[in-house]
């Protein structure tokens, strides 16, 4: 703490020397052009990296067993886990993307925020406690509790890796672009830095370091977003009505920004998107894994409560930030690419695109130093999310595919953890390569696809194996695969991929999101194939439900993640 003033002074000096000139040059910068080096942001980001590497070093000395590596020894408290879940979930896409969406079209941004939030109560009511009671390290532990270890673990590991892959590519490409804009670093450097740091966190610090990276990032992001929102509201005497009135007067779409617009075109797409966002949350492997880091069901429950509150608060902030960006930025040409005759589009010509609304707003409200802080926080946000994803992917490979299937449980903890670390390195390298390959591709659909697969494969398999006695291996396998394949195929045939990526003239699947079809396919598949399964194994699996039921409902016999 005592070092902070010196750092702040140093940062101010650096900012004065370099950033003032770069900001003055603002209007000349286009979306495709990277900005000059932003030293304030780089200095603050380096502080974040140094701090988190210090934590990783400490975590590394305390990470000895598999339980330490995968689940932080079960020693995370409910409050800490709530912050970490919020950290895992509040990605740069939701901070910059949703505030940008509000900036561009007002009310429509709120529809997305709400969709991302409402999955959490469902996670709490139906999944969180049972997951903690039944599982050890990954959600496959739970799905395969009384079913065939090999088949169900392969299914859930594939579900995990598909979700992680798409989510990770989207994050890497987003990170590269964002860092190019915020810091003035080359795209390739940016992707390599993100990849290397996430490997270091996961390989050396395991779940403990990853958790603390999430917690620090969540606190920084919430603090930064709170400050921007307060400064916006301050201008309007803390009256949202005054802010809205000003925004309506300034925004080119006028009063239309206060009501639903073009984002939700047809009801089927609206409901389908809603389903994917709501139930996808309950099937994200890196989020589900967080429930094994706490000591018991009670702590798991508390962590969802805190996480829901923090995420809800965060989305209210992004809404205020989006409206603040309208009122602070739109009448100031210095934030726009101004045409030769001094004319600019108040939405499309924002420097760096609408996703930069929150970043520009930080400069408008708090000056260049605050701009540096928000830029650094955005980078930290990406880093934390990709670290969580990498750990979830590595755990699926080492714990589900290697330890339980290839080695049939005959593997030492040390070896399993070593395989996990090797997997994390491999995932990191693949993510860097894919991030580089996909630089100029449309990756926006990938987050939607990740949520659709999570909602159509992971979530139905998990929920049915926990709650429905009649679920058998054959049913879970068939239903899960049907959900997975149908979700992926429908996304490939939809406009985002079929037309915008492959260049075909007309899409075959008419809706943007497959969940409204792929989720029922998965649930019906699990039900029908379980009913049709009259094998001896199916009978044994149905009989084994009672033991699972007692443990999932009461925690009697649950694995204590903390190993002394």
């Amino acid at each position: 703490m005592r070092r902070l003033p010196i750092i702040a002074v140093a940062a101010v000096l650096v900012v004065d020397a370099v950033l003032s000139s770069s900001l003055a040059a603002g209007p000349d910068l286009g979306a495709v052009q990277k900005q000059p080096l932003n030293w304030a942001a780089i200095v603050m980001f380096l502080l974040f990296v140094l701090g988190t590497l210090g934590i990783t070093y400490r975590a590394a000395t305390q990470t000895k067993t598999a339980a330490d590596f995968y689940a932080a020894g079960g020693g995370i408290t409910g409050m800490q886990n709530g912050l970490a879940i919020a950290g895992d979930y509040m990605s740069a896409a939701s901070f910059l993307g949703i505030s940008g969406l509000v900036f561009a079209s007002g009310f429509d941004g709120l529809i997305y925020s709400i969709g991302f939030l409402v999955g959490w109560p469902i996670v709490l009511f139906l999944i969180a406690e049972r997951l903690r009671n039944l599982g050890k390290f990954t959600f496959s532990d739970v799905a395969s509790f009384r079913l065939d270890q090999t088949q169900i673990r392969i299914l859930s590991a594939v579900g995990t890796l598909v979700v992680v892959a798409f989510y990770l590519i989207a994050q890497m490409v987003g990170a590269g672009k964002l860092i190019e804009l915020l810091f003035g670093l080359d795209y390739l450097y940016a992707v390599v830095i993100v990849g290397v740091l996430m490997i270091v966190y996961v390989v050396f610090g395991g779940m403990k370091a990853t958790t603390w990276v999430q917690i620090i990032k969540a606190c920084l992001l919430l603090a930064g977003a709170t400050l921007i929102a307060l400064m916006v509201l301050w201008r309007y005497g803390f009256s949202p009505e005054a802010m809205f009135a000003d925004a309506v007067a300034i925004h080119p779409r006028g009063d239309a920004i206060m009501a639903p617009g073009a984002l939700v075109a047809d009801p089927i797409s609206a409901i389908s998107l809603g389903l994917a966002l709501m139930f996808g949350t309950a099937g994200l492997p890196h989020i589900l894994m967080r429930f094994f880091t706490v000591s018991d069901a009670r702590a798991a429950r508390k962590s969802v409560f805190y996480a829901t509150g923090l995420i809800a608060y965060f989305y209210v902030l992004t809404f205020i930030i989006g409206f603040g960006a309208i009122t602070f930025l739109m009448n100031d040409p210095s934030y726009f690419k101004v045409g030769p005759n001094g004319v600019y589009d108040k939405v499309k010509d924002l420097i760096g695109g609408t996703n930069m609304a929150a970043v520009h707003l930080s400069a408008a409200t708090g000056g260049s130093l605050f701009l540096g802080f928000i830029s650094a926080v955005s980078f930290a946000t990406i880093l934390a999310v990709v670290a969580g994803l990498t750990l979830a992917g590595a755990s699926a490979v080492s714990h589900d595919l290697y330890a339980e299937i290839i080695a049939r449980g005959r593997v030492s903890e040390q070896k399993e953890v070593r395989i996990s670390k090797i997997s994390a390195i491999a995932i990191g390298i693949v993510a860097i390569i894919l991030g580089y390959i996909f630089e100029n591709q449309n990756v926006a659909f990938m987050v939607g696809l990740a949520f659709a697969v999570a909602a159509s494969c992971n979530f139905p398999v998990l929920l049915m194996s926990i709650l429905w006695k009649g679920t058998t291996t054959r049913g879970a396998l068939a239903g899960g695969l049907l959900g997975l394949v149908s979700a992926v195929v429908m996304v490939v045939l939809s406009k985002a991929v079929w037309v915008q990526t492959f260049g075909f003239p007309k899409e075959i699947f008419p809706y943007d999101n497959p969940a409204i079809f792929s989720m029922p396919i998965a649930f019906l598949g699990i039900w029908a194939f379980s009913k049709l399964d009259a094998s001896e194994r199916a009978k044994a699996e149905i009989e084994a439900f009672d033991a699972q039921y007692v443990r999932s409902e009461t925690g009697i016999g649950a694995t204590a993640a903390h190993v002394h």
């Binding site: 939030l117 409402v118 709490l124 949202p240 009505e241 009135a245 809800a312 209210v316």
Partner: protein
């Protein structure tokens, strides 16, 4: 625990009471959340003019208030669940664990 012990737990009135009450409560809250959220989505899809309606004399629309209402409802529902689970359900679970472990 052997499978006979699990049978004993399942047969016990305490277990049945706990599971019955919690299941009912959790599914009720789940349905409330689903109705609130998909009600909102259906309004967005089918009743845009209603959501565009002004509240009072200002520019603030009904849609924005309802949207904030959904966000608050999500948090309040988790709070309601946690409050009852922390007191009542945990008490029942503790008694049950004491009886069988």
């Amino acid at each position: 625990m052997a499978s006979r012990d699990y049978d004993r737990v399942i047969q016990s009135p305490r277990f049945q009471e706990l599971v019955r009450q919690r299941t009912k409560f959790a599914w009720t809250l789940t349905i409330v959340m689903l109705v609130i959220y998909f009600g909102f989505i259906l309004l967005v899809a089918f009743a845009k003019p209603l959501l565009a309606m002004k509240v009072g004399d200002g520019v603030t629309s009904l849609g924005i208030l309802l949207g904030l209402g959904v966000i608050i409802a999500a948090f309040v529902l988790t709070g309601i669940y946690v409050y009852r689970a922390n007191s009542e359900f945990d008490e029942l679970t503790r008694n049950l664990t004491r009886e069988f472990m």
